[in-house]
Symmetry: C2
Subunit: 269 residues, 2 copies
């Protein structure tokens, strides 16, 4: 069994100290509650609605050396894993990234491949899907926010063996929490979405962090204002059982040999 937690907070542009304090509160709550794997929101070190590139750069940091990353890494030392959204500074530019730390080590960085709206201005698109991350003998994949809209990505992670999709987000579109139910069912996997709250520069975020199970049940859902951590105990191994009837394995029932036009476009583009 695994205690799977999601944390909601309100990151603010120009307030790194405040963001750090809020993140520490979530890490502290999660530690008290013995959370094994914690998902924190997208861009939690930076806030979301930048007015210009300078703001996006000002709020960024390197992974794993940066201030937020170091704090996350430290928290993960006690046989814990955490994934958090980081405005990531690199030599070639900024990425909207998710940094994963476990047992005091930097396990992976996933850089968002499907950028939403003005993110296309501030960030470079990632060039790789998330690796499968092993922790406590369970297998995890990472997507970030708008990636939810692309069934290809969760499908690939499920085909690659992910039992749980970890999903840092800054939800704006109300579709997403329901769509994650579909992602769970169609792949027979768990999903854990950590969203953000608050009104930033006139736009209200949705909150609604949630965890779904392979049967499409919502195991927990936070509201639009809650700051804190919610958790649920799950057995990710349940996701290995892909039989939804005696005759139907949701992954093996795929007919990839008939999905020709997907492949065609794959090779054309």
């Amino acid at each position: 069994m695994l205690r799977l937690g999601v944390g909601q907070m309100e990151p603010v542009v120009h307030d790194q100290d405040g963001n750090m304090e809020k993140m520490r509160e979530l890490l502290s709550s999660a530690a008290k509650e013995d959370v094994d794997v914690l998902v924190l929101p997208e861009l939690l070190n930076s806030g979301y609605f930048f007015e210009n590139q300078e703001e996006a750069i000002e709020m960024s940091e390197q992974i794993p050396g940066g201030r937020f990353s170091s704090e996350l890494k430290k928290w993960s030392k006690k046989n814990r894993m955490v994934v958090a959204g980081i405005d990531e500074k690199t030599e070639e530019g900024l990425y909207n990234s998710a940094a994963v730390f476990g047992n005091g080590k930097h396990l992976a960085t996933y850089r968002k491949i499907h950028l939403f709206d003005a993110e296309k201005i501030w960030f470079l698109p990632g060039q790789e899907v998330s690796p499968i991350i092993n922790f406590k003998n369970y297998r995890f994949g990472v997507i970030i926010c708008y990636d939810w809209a692309f069934p290809e990505l969760s499908r690939i992670l499920a085909l690659n063996g992910a039992q749980v999709i970890l999903h840092p987000a800054n939800l704006l579109l109300s579709y997403c929490p329901r769509a994650m139910i579909t992602r769970s069912i169609e792949n027979w996997i768990f999903t854990a979405t950590a969203s953000r709250i608050g009104v930033e520069r006139g736009t209200k975020f949705l909150g609604f962090s949630q965890v779904t199970d392979p049967r499409g049940h919502i195991l927990l859902q936070m509201d639009a204002s809650e700051h804190g951590v919610a958790w649920v105990d799950v057995d990710p191994a349940v996701a290995d059982e892909k039989m939804i009837t005696k005759q139907n394995n949701v992954l093996k029932d795929r007919r990839p040999e008939l999905y020709g036009s997907l492949a065609e476009i794959l090779h054309k583009e």
Copy 2:
């Protein structure tokens, strides 16, 4: 604009005459209401829960020559299109098919490629995705019931230009009506699901025929008992506008060059 209708009825094994009568009632209602495109349930000529292969064969017919097909073809003469689920008899065996008739012509037959549960015993799996069917300058694709669980299929149809997914079904799983919302949003298309009602050999069907639009709105939804036709006027051309923000085209935002493992599995299997 297009008047898009879905019809619910209760097909019964061993009662071809009754099934025909119920189908005629739906066709008659749809004609009175000036429906342009009508979707009728899966296996409406046969019922669903066969006890043996003989029952499945007894209830089957050829497309387009069979009794139900002929009636559908006749109805379509007056500048109308209809798709209905047919237990289809062929030389090689039975298929769970959807027959499409428009303007008095047989336009297409789609044979279900993802078979559910005992369907794997009675039916052969289809070997092709639905063609894109042109009618009144709009473009349609067809999926049948459990096909909903495979995002690849609706994605292909959307990539191939479908504005509306026509979806004959015999819904049993309550996931589906919500999942169709996700299919709409992720592809920015309309979906029209025609389900069946009634208890057959101890199992209750869901009803819940519905139409969804590209924004994920449920435009209409029938209940679990209603026999009849419901319709809504839609402009399928809305589905050609794939921009969900000024920066985001839901199909062009795909990163097929990164969906490598999908392709790999495609070629491996």
